[in-house]
Assembly symmetry: C3
Homo-oligomer: 374 residues x 3
């Protein structure tokens, strides 16, 4: 969804069509053109510290494992045996053990996917072509991304040239809370909901005590047609420092350089990768969305603190999670209500609020490009 900035581009003035929210064919095309093509967030590098450590990533009908090899690199491997196709690793994360072993017939693969042994095969059997198939993997600010594209896409850093989280030193963070929930709504409804704050004033009273819930969209964004939006100044209210219930830090061990901790908050909304990152000085917060069907979306929240922060001493998990959890619950209800409404054959895409739903317009424009609709 990379596009050239241009003053002549016409932004969409109304929302997605009904079929975009309910058609299985369109979902399959979205899988092909968006989810199997772009970089998708998988894990923090601290979850893949030692050789043999793996994290599983299931998306778009595929199961991929990211493994730390003996030489210290990361490899993304399709999670099925090249013999009868049995799934290799069934846990979400952990260690492969001494090798990646298929428990069906005992075939064994190295961490980099090469077939090491295939017991009792016929004498003329050649192991070489039967290694595990691989996908692409990239690391950015300590965050691991996978792409299922045929060709390796430009790196995450190339895709997000000015999304600067350097001060927060996220590569030295660790995961404090991970949370998954399912919303009965199309993923685009969920993504649009997360990108606009037009709905905040009457739906998020707790957020409204910490941040400005009437901020507009366009003014803070660096480009009308970028495939992401990066804000250096998150609109915290006076005296507020982070997204917690009272706006105060809930981790004593701050992110970044101890002598010069990050100031304010930064915010990234990456449309192509359905990836949202917010970083305050005490904790960073990732939100990603995965379609399970036309009307079901899995939401994943990851909260990170400094790697050295000790739970219940330096930070309490509920303290950094509470506001996010509450807002997530409120938003989920709104998204599900929207999915129920757009089911009508008489539904017509309504007008965008061009002041407050700027991010939705930006997203819909990029989506139409990615889907070949422009």
């Amino acid at each position: 969804m990379t596009v050239q900035d241009s003053p002549t581009i016409e932004m969409p003035t109304s929302g997605f069509r009904r079929e975009d929210f309910v058609s299985p064919d369109i979902l399959e095309e979205e899988m092909e053109r968006i989810f199997r093509k772009n970089w998708m967030y998988v894990a923090h590098t601290s979850q893949l510290a030692k050789p043999g450590d793996f994290v599983r990533h299931d998306l778009a009908g595929e199961s991929v494992i990211v493994v730390r090899t003996r030489s210290g690199e990361l490899r993304a491997l399709y999670n099925f045996c090249t013999h009868r196709g049995a799934q290799l690793l069934e846990e979400t994360s952990g260690s492969c053990g001494r090798a990646i072993t298929c428990t069906y017939h005992g075939w064994t693969f190295d961490y980099d996917g090469e077939l090491r042994s295939a017991p009792r095969m016929q004498p003329d059997f050649d192991k070489t072509p039967h290694g595990l198939k691989h996908a692409w993997v990239d690391t950015w600010n300590g965050l691991v991304f996978v792409s299922l594209a045929d060709e390796r896409p430009p790196s995450v850093a190339e895709r997000l040239p000015d999304a600067d989280f350097g001060e927060h030193q996220l590569e030295r963070a660790k995961v404090a809370v991970e949370y998954r929930t399912v919303i009965e709504a199309n993923w685009k409804i969920v993504w649009e909901n997360g990108g606009e704050c037009y709905h905040c004033a009457i739906n998020h009273p707790e957020l409204g005590r910490v941040m400005s819930v009437t901020r507009t969209g366009a003014s803070e964004s660096h480009s009308l047609v970028a495939d992401y939006r990066f804000d250096r100044k998150f609109p915290l209210l006076e005296g507020m420092h982070t997204l917690t219930m009272d706006g105060q830090f809930r981790s004593k061990r701050l992110l970044g350089d101890p002598d010069s901790p990050p100031e304010g908050m930064r915010f990234l909304n990456w449309h192509s990768s359905i990836f949202e990152l917010t970083a305050a000085a005490d904790h960073a917060h990732i939100q990603t969305f995965k379609p399970l069907s036309t009307t079901r979306t899995e939401v994943r929240l990851v909260l990170m603190v400094h790697a050295d922060a000790v739970e219940n001493e330096d930070y309490d998990a509920e303290g950094i999670f509470e506001l996010h959890r509450i807002a997530r619950g409120q938003d989920s209800g709104l998204c599900e209500k929207t999915q129920r409404g757009i089911g009508s054959r008489h539904y017509q895409p309504g007008p965008y609020n061009t002041v407050y739903e700027y991010s939705s317009q930006q997203f819909r424009h990029l989506y139409q490009q990615a889907m070949g609709q422009l």
Copy 2:
């Protein structure tokens, strides 16, 4: 399904084809040609007494609300916001409050559907074209019907010229019992079952103590090809007055004129609207059927008594419900058994009993006309 009476019309001699009972394409066409086109029963007017009162009606993929406006009329409005499409009213019935408000972004509509306010939209935003979309509503004998047709169909009274329930004064009744259940069978199996009493003798012993379960069909009907069947004389047995376990009244406050209560029972079977109405002097009984899928049907039973009848004083709800509930359970089992049987690829439509399954023949004939199969 209105047709001209004609002696040359050939009635079908055998039942529906297998595909009529299992094909999703045929169900979609039935939705278009029957359920979204004809008048469908929604509520009794007493449930919409004051301005702002509403009843929700979900059918054929649509959600519609019927609202009493400030000027006292009824309006049928599609239940989604014209901004992002969120569903507006989630309860089955109740009061809208001071306006119909979308809780997503705060857009507010009058009871007649006009957009009254859209907070913080861009300055040049014109509210006029963004009112709620409307459907058609009609009232007949105090019963509220909705149609989702593009053009307003002829009124219910015009469709049922001689279905006379005047004596029962149903507009002065109220709902005493409302009951919904789901049957695992195609809606046409359920409708045919309700229209014939060939199966009664061996399946409804309780009914058989109150009414003649060997009555034939054709003789009591006023027309071979009408799209409804109206009987002025329901075949009660000697000494029986209503459809209760012992055939005696279970509401002391009778329907109609207190000085001249209705005599006997009247019965309406309206094929086009999948609507059945039986009225005795003590209570009236509505049955409607709504397809949920090719093999699932929601049944709704509504029992009405006089508006002034006081529960547990003038009537007991179980007393007027019991026989209907028992017969409904027996019929549901028969319908589900039929659905299981017609799943066979070797199923061929069987012969109609032209004496006792007259109503099925009449229905199938009208159905074939409505579906363009004749």
Copy 3:
């Protein structure tokens, strides 16, 4: 799937394609070309001893009953009424009573399917053409098979010319244990799993104490291209006599001639009928597999002992069942893991182990013939 033995036939060297495991269209074609065409095991004749006894058989969208007629023959009848299509017999097995009666409108059929009475039909109604539709039935070694083919296929005995279970006198056995379970995997994964022991060594420790789990496939089979595999010598370990936890008999009343009980075990794997039969001297063991959807398969296990064996005196059910139950559970897990793996769009059929997966090669070859893929 009958083929001519020929030395020039090329056996497949790799497994089924991804679409073979997930496509509903292919499943429908398998139903047509395999499951509705071939003989499918239904019951043991002892379950159909008296006139009116029936066993119900549901497969491939059809429900068929096998009934013992008054003249002592077996008839296979489609289980729906020829009037409105209602299912006739809802139990799995039992006695029809004095006739096969439809409880909807009271139509009554003889055990051979003829319509005996249709109460209160119009005077000119002719019962003759409204008998129940029939399928084909055959008996082999006391086992009852049904075929839904249009034409009666060659008998089971003709299809299995040298599968000799005579010594075991299975027609004088009875069912001791019947067990059904559902596996979340395509039926071909389940069938291939049952036909090879390449996976046994690392997955079936209990089996490995009784039989050789490293036996190869081809050497024991009589023909490379037969549609079944019959082994006269099941590879029991020294001192082992049957498939129980310790390899010792668990029924004192042995099968066959009491003066000369069967020696060793016999094994049949019949690809076309998805039917497996193992017979030891103390008990015989049937396994059949029925697709419920592309990714769900019902497994049925039937354990038989001599008709005169008395439970808890001559045999204990758990004793003859335990090893089979344990192995079934282990195999089910492997099959489900394989189904999960082959879902990847990158899955390519892997190579067969031509020594140990001979049976899979044989099956895939016959399958391709049956499906018109060769």
